[in-house]
Symmetry: C2
């Protein structure tokens, strides 16, 4: 049987996985990205991981193509990473370089779009024609899929919902603007707020778990644990992040009219702790016609959504 | 030569026009809508107007199809007006009823989408693939066109930007929500604010032009005239409306990545008085990558945009 390999290229890790046509992951490899070694080195490592999986599967499955989810600004037609801040990449011909090393077709697209692609065809979005996906992770980004097609926008830049200005948010954003949604409502934004509050003397079980010298070890998962113990700081931060995501999604949904909103990314592992306030704010701000039909659900494939989406996208591109 | 007839069905007037393939208006008729007489009466009047134009053009031009821009929620595939508040229409089979009276194909769509369609193919949007259009009139609504295709959204409800909640706006909206963009930034919202301020004793040339008994005659055009004379109330209202539209458009553009934003509708007749503050706010809130490429322009066809768009849309649907 023919399988495709999906690559989830992150700032910290590269994950490669062989995926069958149903979206099941057959083999998976993970290695650190080590972006500081340069793009040739990173692409060489991806190629080696793909070859290693191909070798493992030899005789059993043939690998027909590879899909790579690349962070940042991507030109999917040209197969070029235009700009990826966390990798320090600028105009890297990802598809061409990998194709020359692998000898099979390689397709790339923005990582969030491919994450949501995986949800659309083999996850929470199955059967829906109008999908708005959002990933809450280091940053916050969205992807729009209409009847199986991405809405790319001019220069394939659509989806930067993390940089919508939110009233009442004053934090400076790494993009140069301030008050961007992702400064406080992303997983890293939530962690940053928790650390800051603790440093300023706010009482919290988080302060007990992470005395000052270890405060940098606090993660978004800790916020969920603390909230479950009734911690008011963690509850405030998660609830506010949910509400702010809900507010930004309300504006987007009012313009786009999706049928389903899929919430994924590391931040979505908080589940109802973040989804409940998100839905409350969203529904409160929506016109009745929108409110009635709209579903808001967590992503299904979470950890593997990146490789599943990239692999299924490569299969789709190969056939189209 | 074959022409199509475009119908702009508004709460106050019906405008019908014969339009050639270049978007030029050959004949035009206007009649009051008189929605209170019921939908059969209104559709009968539209049919009579179309027949009258057909007769006038007989021998010279054959009318091949009719396009009707209907306010509110429309099912363009079924040709049904699902809900039009200002007409008090609910599930009116506009296309079928008109076709049975006229004997030629009739296509309908939402009026704002058809307005922007006219701009896209024969106006300010010519040559652009990613268009976000907004009409500032009695309400505020948007239309999204990608490579010549509308983004309809689920139930064809996309584009309700006038009902995005704006922080700092407290006005109740006719939709049941409050703080909606259109409560203060639409043409009627601006007029309402001016009247209210004058009633509360605010000094303004508008108060001299419209003593209390005639205050209901004040229009959006008067605000432009007053602003040109340095009137502070009119300047405040137009500038705030521009900025609020800019803020709502910034959120939409950050998610959609349009190449051009076309601003039309009666409110856009204020020109740079509203476009300058709109652009200022918009560009201030956009990521640099978005800011650099994005054009913001006034609609070109303004008064006739509705009939031009409806007629060209009917031509397009007939051929597709």
């Amino acid at each position: 049987m023919s399988v495709t390999i999906g690559v989830d290229l992150g700032g910290t890790n590269i994950v490669c996985g062989a995926v069958d046509e149903t979206g099941s992951v057959l083999r998976k490899l993970k290695q650190p990205t080590e972006a500081h070694l340069g793009h040739s080195d990173v692409l060489g490592r991806i190629a080696a991981m793909v070859q290693s999986i191909r070798k493992e599967l030899a005789g059993e499955h043939e690998v027909s193509s590879v899909g790579v989810g690349v962070p940042g600004l991507v030109d999917p037609q040209a197969g070029i990473s235009r700009f990826a801040g966390n990798l320090k990449w600028h105009d890297v011909p990802v598809a061409a370089e990998l194709e020359s090393r692998l000898g099979i077709p390689v397709y790339i697209d923005n990582d969030v779009r491919l994450y949501i692609y995986g949800e659309a065809v083999a996850g929470a979005g199955r059967g829906f024609d109008h999908i708005l996906g959002i990933t809450i992770g280091t940053g916050i980004a969205a992807a729009i899929m209409i009847e199986g097609q991405f809405h790319y926008g001019y220069k394939a830049m659509a989806g930067e919902i993390g940089h919508v200005r939110m009233e009442g948010v004053e934090e400076a954003c790494s993009c140069g603007l301030y008050g961007c949604l992702e400064t406080v409502a992303s997983a890293s934004g939530m962690v940053r707020q928790a650390r800051k509050a603790i440093q300023e003397g706010r009482k919290s079980v988080l302060a007990d778990w992470y005395p000052s010298e270890s405060l940098h070890l606090l993660t978004a998962a800790d916020l969920s644990k603390a909230m479950d113990q009734g911690d008011s700081l963690a509850t405030e931060i998660l609830t506010r992040a949910g509400a702010l995501n809900g507010r930004a999604l309300a504006a987007a949904a009012t313009v786009l009219s999706p049928e389903i909103i899929i919430v994924g990314g590391g931040g979505a592992l908080a589940g109802e702790r973040i989804l409940a306030p998100l839905r409350k704010e969203l529904y409160e701000l929506l016109l009745p016609d929108f409110r009635e039909g709209l579903k808001v659900v967590a992503a299904e494939n979470n950890d593997d959504a990146g490789i599943i989406g990239s692999a299924l996208f490569a299969r789709h591109r190969l056939l189209s």
